[in-house]
Homo-oligomer: 220 residues x 2
């Protein structure tokens, strides 16, 4: 189910004992070296580290020239397959990272529906004054880390009535209650239902679904 | 004009040749060490480093237990004086960091008007694969790094008609056009005028100004 390259990367990280591995984030200036304990930086730094680790281990990858955009890495030569997103979260807490901006994601898959097939490599870490520790990693598809919620067919972050980001199912503890989607089609359906109750300015739920159907190879 | 402790800190950093100093931000895991070139982390990391550097140099400080809140450091034993905010920006660009969330700042100074007197220590850095370099530092008061704009009496970031953050005057090049405020009172006046055109839900510009006048020792 996962991309072959992503699965290989995941397997190799496991084989090298990434789970349980300890490391350090540090900043040095004027001869004062400081071990960083601020968690806000970990996501970006772990992503940079993974690039360096893949280079060191001769694993082919390309980074996205626009670091703000999806995906974080391409594991193949095509821009339409082997997409890899990196997500990180503080393992002492429930995973609640932004999977994607709802509006941007929903619009982008109308033309770039191969994004549904992206792989998500997730790092659960702890960061203390003793250093960084990788507590667990996961390889997931988006429909495996998303779920419905009481308010919408898709669990999202809502701010002042506005849908902001797609937020994850608690895969860390495999929590009870709303369960993740069984297939990519259930996930797509959940977006459609969400759009029916929360229309975007330029596209209806029907138009969105038709565009995805016409465009997404897995439907054919 | 600046707090005595903040001035001492600034002088000591200058004396130790912080301007021009080079350093490194790195992450190490599974025996792969990676020099970080992602700029999004620099602000938080430099702030952590400054704490370590002050400890090393026996400069008294306390960090804010809530790292998201104003100020970043207390340089004295009181919570109502010697407040120090740290700001950082990529020196290859025009400084455009968020000085403060407009709404939160405006509300907070109604009761905590000593915040007007906080010192701002600003680092202009460059970050390349060769490392981190401090290109310049500044010690400033808020009215020295803020200015009017065409739309409002105070230069702010506006998103979909909503005022988000207070944004800086270009103190790096001392740009022409709108100039920074000459005094704290001009800055306070600019907030009042901005509120007259952009009322907050629970307070009018008059009410706000009265609260600040009653509360701010420098007015007496």
């Amino acid at each position: 189910m996962y991309g072959i390259s992503a699965q290989k990367l995941y397997d190799k990280l496991q084989k090298r004992h990434i789970v349980g591995a300890t490391g350090k984030i540090s900043i040095e200036l004027l001869n004062v070296m400081c071990n960083v304990s601020d968690k806000s930086a970990v996501g970006n730094l772990l992503q940079e580290w993974l690039g360096a680790w893949m280079s060191e281990n001769k694993i082919y990858y390309r980074t996205n020239p626009n670091t703000q955009e999806f995906p974080d890495f391409y594991l193949g030569k095509s821009d339409a397959s082997d997409l890899l997103e990196i997500k990180t979260f503080d393992f002492t807490k429930t995973p609640n990272f932004d999977i994607a901006n709802f509006d941007a994601y929903v619009r982008s898959v109308m033309t770039k529906s191969y994004r549904f097939d992206a792989d998500y490599l997730i790092f659960g870490y702890t960061l203390t004054e003793n250093g960084l520790k990788i507590e667990n990693i996961w390889l997931k598809k988006i429909w495996e880390i998303t779920c419905p919620s009481k308010q919408y067919a898709l669990r999202v972050q809502v701010k002042q009535g506005k849908i902001m980001n797609i937020r994850p199912y608690n895969f860390k503890t495999a929590s009870q209650g709303f369960q993740p989607f069984a297939t990519r089609y259930d996930f797509i359906d959940a977006i459609k239902q969400t759009l029916a109750n929360y229309p975007l300015q330029t596209v209806t739920d029907q138009e969105w679904h038709q565009a995805v159907q016409a465009n997404y190879a897995s439907f054919h």
